[in-house]
């Protein structure tokens, strides 16, 4: 990249800094480094406050990076050019979810009926209440349809939204916000509902997080308790399967 030295005669150091920033923020290195470094800081803070839900590292990392991008006018595609290397790992990570399931296969085989029932009930409750509330506050139809798949992980939810007549970009926003709400509020809600923190209670908490707030909720569950994490992974997988199969079918009937 050329350095236009002619423009810098008044305040060379400041101008150099701005140039450097413009250069750095345009390379993939910036997006990748910012994502990793800010996340590591947020993770350290999260550990320092004993994994309190309000200190959720995804929430704070996302908020910090998005604020910097908005304040400095760096467009999202420029950031994503670097961040895509991290984003890419989501695919292999979803495949890897089979590992915690395999480790608990005996338990899961014994309990599959009840797990399926809970996944169905939770999915219907989340989608149904979103549709009912959205309708009650007067949201237009295409927005309602975009709300229906919001408890499924974003890439899948967008596909479902497209197939039932919703707006995929809107669904992506709803899905991520839903994940963050679950990760931030789950512990307080479960404590309020007096879901215990024994072996069975942890699996119920984890499974609920995976059902109602997909991967972001599951990531929170995995950090808190290994069994909760595994059941969250299972719930997330079941929700993907159930929503992909049932939502398009239901919407055709209505």
């Amino acid at each position: 990249m050329m350095t236009p030295a002619t423009l810098t005669n008044q305040a060379p150091s400041m101008a150099n800094f701005v140039e450097l920033w413009v250069y750095l923020s345009a390379t993939p290195l910036f997006g990748l480094t910012a994502t990793l470094v800010v996340y590591l800081l947020a993770q350290a803070a999260y550990t320092a406050v004993n994994h309190a839900p309000w200190a959720n590292p995804v929430f704070w990392t996302v908020t910090a990076i998005a604020s910097v991008l908005l304040l400095t006018d760096v467009p999202y595609p420029t950031y994503f050019a670097g961040a895509q290397f991290i984003h890419f790992l989501l695919g292999p990570a979803v495949v890897a979810l089979a590992w915690p399931l395999w480790q608990r296969r005996a338990d899961l085989m014994r309990r599959w009926g009840r797990l399926l029932l809970a996944a169905l009930a939770g999915g219907v409750a989340a989608s149904g209440s979103a549709l009912a509330l959205g309708w009650a506050v007067g949201l237009p139809n295409d927005v309602l349809l975009s709300l229906a798949p919001k408890s499924v992980t974003a890439p899948v939810a967008m596909g479902i939204a497209a197939s039932i007549g919703g707006i995929p970009a809107l669904t992506a926003v709803f899905s991520v916000v839903t994940g963050l709400i679950g990760a931030l509020s789950g512990k307080y809600l479960f404590d309020g509902l007096r879901i215990p923190t024994d072996a069975a209670g942890w699996t119920a908490r984890g499974f609920a997080l995976g059902t109602a707030s997909h991967g972001i909720g599951a990531a929170r569950a995995m950090q808190v308790h290994a069994d909760a994490g595994a059941y969250a992974a299972l719930a997330l997988g079941l929700q993907v399967v159930l929503a992909s199969l049932l939502l398009p079918l239901l919407m055709r009937l209505i």
Binding site: T35, Y39, V58, V62, T63, H87, L89, G91, P92, A93, V94, V95, A96, L97, A98, W99, P100, R110, R114, A118, G122, A125, A126, S127, A130, L133, G138, L139, S151, V156, A169, L170, V173, F174, V176, V177, T178, I181, G182, S185, L189, F190, L193, R194, I195, A200, A204, R205, A208, L209, T211, A212, S213, G215, A219, G237, V240, V241, S244, P248
Partner: protein, 126 residues
């Protein structure tokens, strides 16, 4: 080395999942089909040992992987803001309902008809 081999397996299975998902136009995304394939393949030690080394690392940092999408959403919040506070209300309340229904139901089911469950000492619900 095992970690790298594990990543190799994950990518191979994801690719097979993508091929099956597109080839047969399944309603499930490629990585999810890959997860199902891995669930079967884990019975073989040649898959299991490397994958376990890689999966633990990948899954313990799962939340990091959501940051790029999350930033995208936050920089595009304007498409939602036209619906204002009522939209946030709908999202918060419906998520809490989904969480509560699932956790309460499962907790109830565990404690009322799980003969094989040994931790029945905790308080009952329902």
């Amino acid at each position: 080395m095992n970690g790298l081999r594990g990543l190799g397996w994950l990518l191979v299975l994801q690719s097979m999942g993508e091929l099956l998902s597109r080839g047969l136009s399944l309603p499930l995304p490629g990585p999810v089909v890959g997860m199902m394939l891995l669930l079967v393949a884990l019975r073989w030690a040649v898959v299991r040992e490397p994958v376990s080394a890689c999966a633990d690392v990948l899954l313990s940092h799962l939340s990091l992987l959501f940051v790029p999408v999350g930033v995208g959403v936050m920089t595009h919040l304007s498409i939602v803001s036209q619906y204002g506070g009522r939209m946030l209300l709908v999202l918060v309340v419906s998520t809490l309902i989904g969480l509560a229904v699932t956790a309460l139901l499962l907790n109830y089911l565990w404690r009322h008809d799980d003969a094989g469950n040994t931790d029945e000492s905790s308080p009952k619900h329902g």
